[in-house]
Amino acid sequence: MNHKAFKLTLPILFGYIPLGMAFGVLFATQLDYAWWVAPLMGLVIYAGAGQILAVSLLAANAGLLEVAIAMLVLNARHLFYGLSLLGQFRGAGWRKAYLIFGLTDETYSLLTSRPRSDNRSQEQHLDFRITVLNQLYWIAGCTLGAVLGEAVAFNSTGIEFALVALFIVLTIEQLKALGDSFPVWAGAAAAGLAIMLVPATHQLVAGIVIVTTVLLIHYRKHRSNVLAGDVSRG
């Protein structure tokens, strides 16, 4: 099962090491703190965009209330992620808190896309391993970046495209599993709207609010169709 978890998370390894390093290098070059604070942040905060924002907030000596608000707004998209995993995490015991803590974009993507058997506890073990591996990759990246600092000779330019490619692959997998292309078009269109209308830092949350609203409308139509079907059959 370890082998399976490793194989599933391999694309995340290629994405998280360079992104974690990008954070680490930024941390080491912009701030005067000890290097180990960077992996510590990867351990207890564990949010890519959040930690990069944290560097500029730390550099500006931002007030704690400001920090809390900035983090809440930036991570607001996660408010919706749990909805897809309510059933799957049920009864996961002590692992559940960690599974929720580790729910980054990439982990959410893997956990909601992979095929599942009926053995829920076995699947939760695998979910747990996936989440742990992903966070280890992230912490490793943060450490490397912070220790090497400016000494990093980046000829791995562009390797972070692995995450874009992962999202594309998972979109195709979702499409095949669902047999319905509507949410995919809705998601892409919501992204297009958000890119055109709002600044980069708010695009993800704006897109998710738009697409969730669309899915609510979709639900009402879906439901009235089902009800109409029941009536005509009855």
Binding site: K7, L10, P11, F14, Y33, V37, V44, I45, A47, G50, A54, L64, V67, M71, L72, N75, R77, L79, F80, Y81, G82, L83, L86, R90, I100, L103, S109, S113, N155, F161, A162, V164, A165, L166, I168, V169, T171, I172, E173, Q174, L178, D180, F182, P183, V184, W185, G187, A191, A194, I195, L204, G207, I208, V211, T212, V214, L215, L216, Y219, H222
Partner: protein, 114 residues
């Protein structure tokens, strides 16, 4: 000393705020796991979010200034789609797309001449 208190408080606040956004659905919707609306959103949202993330990050990883705007990321993206539809091997599709993207970025292939 004051400095390290600030840093500790800063990290604690950031960690709590981030965890808060992730835990909220589990706190408020746990009882409604079987409600048809929650099931509907839970079923369709992942596909929508995946397409959204793919679109947003694809747009960010491409340059829109050259003579073929966006081609530096769109070409590897189409390669990922084609190879994935052909072989349906996630690692192969991702590796092919990433290597192509890296080659384009590092050689500056699509920047001037085209």
């Amino acid at each position: 000393m004051v400095e390290s208190y600030y840093l500790a408080a800063f990290i604690a606040v950031s960690a709590l705020a981030t965890f808060a956004t992730r835990v909220v659905p589990f706190l408020f919707f746990e009882k409604h796991t079987d409600h048809p609306l929650v099931k509907h959103i839970g079923r369709f949202l992942p596909a929508a979010v995946m397409a959204l993330l793919a679109t947003v990050f694809l747009q960010r990883s491409s340059g829109w200034q050259g003579q073929l705007p966006g081609a530096d990321a769109l070409i590897p993206a189409f390669l990922v789609i084609a190879i994935h539809l052909w072989r349906r091997n996630a690692l192969l599709s991702i590796a092919a797309g990433t290597i192509t993207y890296m080659a384009i970025q590092q050689t500056g292939l699509l920047q001037g001449a085209l």
